[in-house]
């Protein structure tokens, strides 16, 4: 006896780190068909490549001969440092894949025939994910470098960001016009932030700049005002990309990655948003487009209510404001992932509170363990087609001038 006609065994019985992205994401094609996603202009405003895969190539872009020598010596002499030299990769991040349950978080170790460099391989992987999810434009960020705000040596963090930015703009962006990025700012050094904007703002594919927001710098400090002014003048958005931290005073009490991730991916942006609004940055730079990235959405109505409540009683603490904090917050932009979906009524209220049809932009966060496919937006029953089109791509088209 044999198996029947019409029965095909899947070549991949178990998806692992070595499975091709297109096979991992094959089920996303059902959403494309079900919701007609090929008819939508889809912009993914937050996705990632793994810069540590190309780390030796990136370190060659270090400007300082002394620091480059340090990197070379680390890579040569430390057994596990060939793809970590100078980096502050937090050990807790290796808990993200839930002990191998979500393999693509740990590694995309698939074959990329013909890719002669880390950059070529990265572009191949990005294209596979975009095509599998019907994404037209993808904004690509690094991964562990988003922790750079916690680097113990800020000058090293600044040098690494400069090297990475030069590598990305010279090696990744020219290879694929559908890839865009917001480049990380060396936020500990306000002058270096300005220099970064001047060096890269006109580079094709650079559509904004990023505060890797797990850090302890107050975003309202006077030293940053020239940065905000130049971004406003250039019409370039500033994004705050959240990150986890299992070692600060709050999360250090937590014994599970779930706990630290759920909290610290939000509290870092809550902190910055509070300083941003209460110190009247939106009043000082009304044309500066602000984007809050990868903190989900449920925190925003909380912030609106909490800050409004306190502002009405303590107006003298926020004298630059001419309106309640929630009014400014509603005029900011948000990326959608990880969209809290477990209570439809609460999600609908959240989207109404943030004026989602005009302020929300779809993001996948691929290849992270909590990524969202575009079908997540397309399937929401309480949004009309116009709102879905805006969220999936049209708002991003306007914000970034795509």
């Amino acid at each position: 006896m044999t198996i029947d006609d019409g029965v095909r065994r899947l070549p991949t019985q178990q998806i692992t780190t070595h499975t091709d992205s297109r096979e991992i994401l094959a089920n996303a094609a059902r959403d494309t068909e079900r919701y007609g996603l090929d008819d939508y202009f889809i912009v993914d405003v937050d996705s990632h490549h793994v810069e540590l895969d190309s780390w030796p190539e990136i370190l060659e872009y270090l400007e300082s001969p002394v620091l480059k020598d340090t990197a070379h010596q680390m890579m040569r002499n430390w057994p596990q440092a060939s793809h970590l030299a100078l980096h502050n990769h937090p050990p807790g991040l290796t808990m993200q894949d839930v002990s191998g349950r979500i393999p693509h978080q740990a590694s995309l170790a698939e074959e990329t025939p013909g890719a002669a460099s880390g950059a070529e391989r990265d572009v191949t992987l990005v294209r596979r994910a975009m095509d599998a999810m019907s994404i037209d434009v993808q904004v690509v960020f690094p991964q562990p470098m988003l922790e750079t705000g916690l680097h113990p040596q800020p000058q090293v963090a600044s040098a690494l960001l400069q090297a990475y930015n030069r590598w990305f703009t010279s090696q990744i962006l020219p290879r694929e016009p559908r890839v865009k990025t917001m480049l990380g700012l060396p936020f500990e050094d306000p002058d270096a932030c300005l220099a970064t904007v001047e060096e890269f703002a006109d580079h094709p594919g650079v559509i904004g700049f990023l505060v890797t927001s797990q850090r302890h710098a107050g975003v309202h400090r006077n030293a940053y005002m020239p940065l905000y002014r130049v971004l406003e003048e250039r019409g370039l958005p500033i994004g705050f990309h959240a990150g986890p931290n299992q070692a600060d005073s709050m999360t250090s009490t937590m014994n599970r990655f779930l706990s630290a991730h759920a909290m610290s991916f939000v509290t870092c942006n809550m902190t910055h948003m509070t300083n941003w609004v209460i110190n009247g940055i939106p009043e000082r730079f009304p044309g500066l487009k602000t984007i809050w990235i990868e903190s989900g959405l449920a925190w925003v109505p909380f912030m609106m209510q909490r800050l409004d409540h306190e502002y009405f009683m303590r107006q003298s603490d926020a004298p630059l404001l001419t309106r309640p904090p929630s009014h400014y917050i509603r005029e900011m932009y948000y990326t959608s992932q990880p969209m809290e979906w477990t209570d439809a009524a609460l999600l609908e209220s959240t989207l109404r509170a943030i004026d989602a049809p005009n302020q929300l932009m779809y993001s996948s966060d691929w290849p992270h363990w909590d990524f969202d496919v575009p079908g997540r937006i397309a399937s929401l029953p309480f949004l009309d087609d116009h709102a879905k089109r805006n969220i999936l791509g049209e708002t991003a088209r306007k914000v970034f001038g795509l």
Binding site: G6, V7, I15, I24, N27, H104, D372, V373
Partner: protein, 142 residues
């Protein structure tokens, strides 16, 4: 041996007339093992995961209840539990080998293969598929 939930006849409840497919020999699905196959053609094609646990077969459509990920192609692992002593102090995490989970590789949703249900939210469930084993052959009906 047949596995169904809530009297369901398996995948594609509103699909054309059900058809039974021979998908392989019994010894191709080992204890705590699986076989993932696509049956049918075109729009009617359904991908099904067949699992064996304690010598019984269970089958589900390869679509996660969360975002539609390939749940049957994920890691097979025993349910994790936390042991407490008489004073309710934690004794740490242990595998419960009496419960076999399959984990959706997209986002980690875990399902008990004997019920197809998420351990914390039973209404998040894989769609069951009728599976039978007879004469050393495995057949699914979709």
């Amino acid at each position: 041996m047949t596995t169904t939930l809530d009297g369901s006849t398996g995948a594609g409840g509103t699909a054309p007339a059900a058809r039974t497919y021979d998908v392989g020999a019994s010894d191709e699905v080992a204890e705590r093992g699986r076989l993932v196959v696509t049956v049918g053609h075109g729009a009617d094609a359904v991908t099904v995961g067949v699992f064996r646990f304690r010598d019984r077969l269970y089958a589900y459509e390869n679509t996660c209840a969360h975002q539609g990920g390939p749940a049957c192609q994920g890691r097979i692992v025993s349910r994790v539990r936390e042991r407490l002593d008489d004073e309710r102090r934690s004794l740490g995490l242990v595998f419960d080998d009496s419960v076999m989970h399959v984990v959706c590789p997209w986002h980690g949703f875990e399902y008990d293969v004997t019920t197809g249900r998420h351990p914390g939210r039973p209404d998040y469930a894989l769609r069951p598929v009728t599976v039978a084993e007879e004469g050393g052959r495995i057949r699914v009906t979709v």
